[in-house]
Symmetry: none
Subunit: 224 residues, 2 copies
DNA sequence: TCGACGATGACATTTCGATGACACGAGAGG
DNA sequence: CCTCTCGTGTCATCGAAATGTCATCGTCGA
């Protein structure tokens, strides 16, 4: 799950990403609408956290604009308390949720995770494939009932694969969704992470390499 | 357990928090409804002690207002004797308890602890996990039957963990519930308190660090 | 058979938790 | 008023785990 935070206040621009990263989300930061626009065209995000008021304008107007083009990524607006009446306006512009400043960090994390989940159109909190269960809420993975200890990255990659069972997922896709923008797409971080995942997912091979196209989950031998 | 005391009388604004702190509660203080509102948005409390009459209005009206938005934190109203008839009114506004001034300190502590417990929806007075018993009423902890001498902070942290066995609890959550607003979330107070707890909870490791996500109680390991 | 791509082990770097030492203030007792 | 003790918080440092980089090897398929 990858999130873009658009915030110009220096304190918040540090605190908010830090908080979200504790929830195993990959976070990028932008300070202006222009920078956010750039990032949104280059990368794909599962959720965007927008401060309402930014140096180069009202983010709600930007979102409104993009929505009319069919852009559908869920948005959480951070609204100052004294612009409370803007709440409704925020929604009319296609924002999916709002939070009034100041807000509790725990609340923010909960909302963002909720929006990410919603983006997956009602994805169940527990993903299953073959004898693997992945609990997105507790961040736990079990194979054949045995609890595994995965690192944040490993969990993130496995989650992404399990949402798309049997589908080949490219390294580029994985880099874009499980790493932040500092990741080098040419490096073989993905390969290494897959290798580590495999060695923890003891038992019949689950993650199959699809030559030239990435990786996919599979429960049977290399047919096709 | 963290409590907000909203009191404008200078003497009470010192005495009440002092009393509650002796019961291992983290206490914040506000002098007005406005300040209380601010604090309630920023932090999360397990209970709020409201003086009925405050410089900027009747706190019961404020509580009534918040209740309509679904706010559910238990409230204890401090009411002057000559406004005794307001009692009922206080309850109608969603207050869970009241105390008539002047009151006995012991009574206040008992009521607040009771309300905190109620917040945990019928949480039993004695928490158990593995061979540890934590008596929330007596403020006593035993491991394998042996009474331990914990400080207020240590008790508070252990209690918070024991209410959520096996669940990873973030440092932020702990800071928000066991410390007051003066705590620096970046500091490693939590780590140090956990360390002190561990050294007092001799025996098999109970408190497990979950890298990047905090701490959790556990009685068994997990496969790798 | 050759070449591209994936697998893998070794190693470097970064991040994060653990820990000991110390600072500071409140309160008890002389 | 001084001093001692205890609770609590801060800091610097250590070390382990997570993550990333690199070199090399193996293998699949044209």
């Amino acid at each position: 799950m990858r999130v873009l935070v658009v915030e110009d206040d220096e304190d918040l621009a540090v605190a908010v990403p830090a908080a979200l990263r504790t929830a195993a989300l990959a976070v990028d930061v932008a300070g202006t609408i222009a920078a956010a626009d750039e990032a949104l065209w280059v990368n794909s995000y599962d959720c965007v956290v927008f401060d309402r008021t930014l140096p180069d304008g009202d983010s709600a107007l930007y979102v409104h604009h993009r929505r009319k083009e069919g852009w559908a990524v869920p948005v959480l607006f951070l609204t100052a308390r004294d612009t409370l009446t803007d709440r409704v306006e925020g929604f009319e512009h296609g924002g999916d949720d709002y939070l009034i400043k100041p807000f509790a960090v725990a609340e923010l994390i909960a909302r963002v995770l909720s929006l990410c989940r919603r983006a997956g159109t009602g994805r169940p909190p527990v993903l299953r494939y073959a004898d693997v269960e992945l609990d997105t809420g507790r961040r736990e993975v079990r194979r054949a009932g045995v609890l595994l200890t995965l690192t944040a990255k490993e969990f993130s990659v496995l989650e992404y694969l399990m949402v798309r069972p049997e589908h080949a997922v490219s390294r580029t896709d994985l880099i874009e969704h499980c790493w932040d923008e500092n990741a080098d797409p040419r490096a073989n971080v993905v390969d290494v992470t897959i290798k580590r995942l495999r060695s923890k997912l003891r038992g019949p091979e689950l993650i199959q390499a699809v030559r030239g196209r990435g990786y996919r989950l599979t429960s049977e031998g290399s047919a096709g």
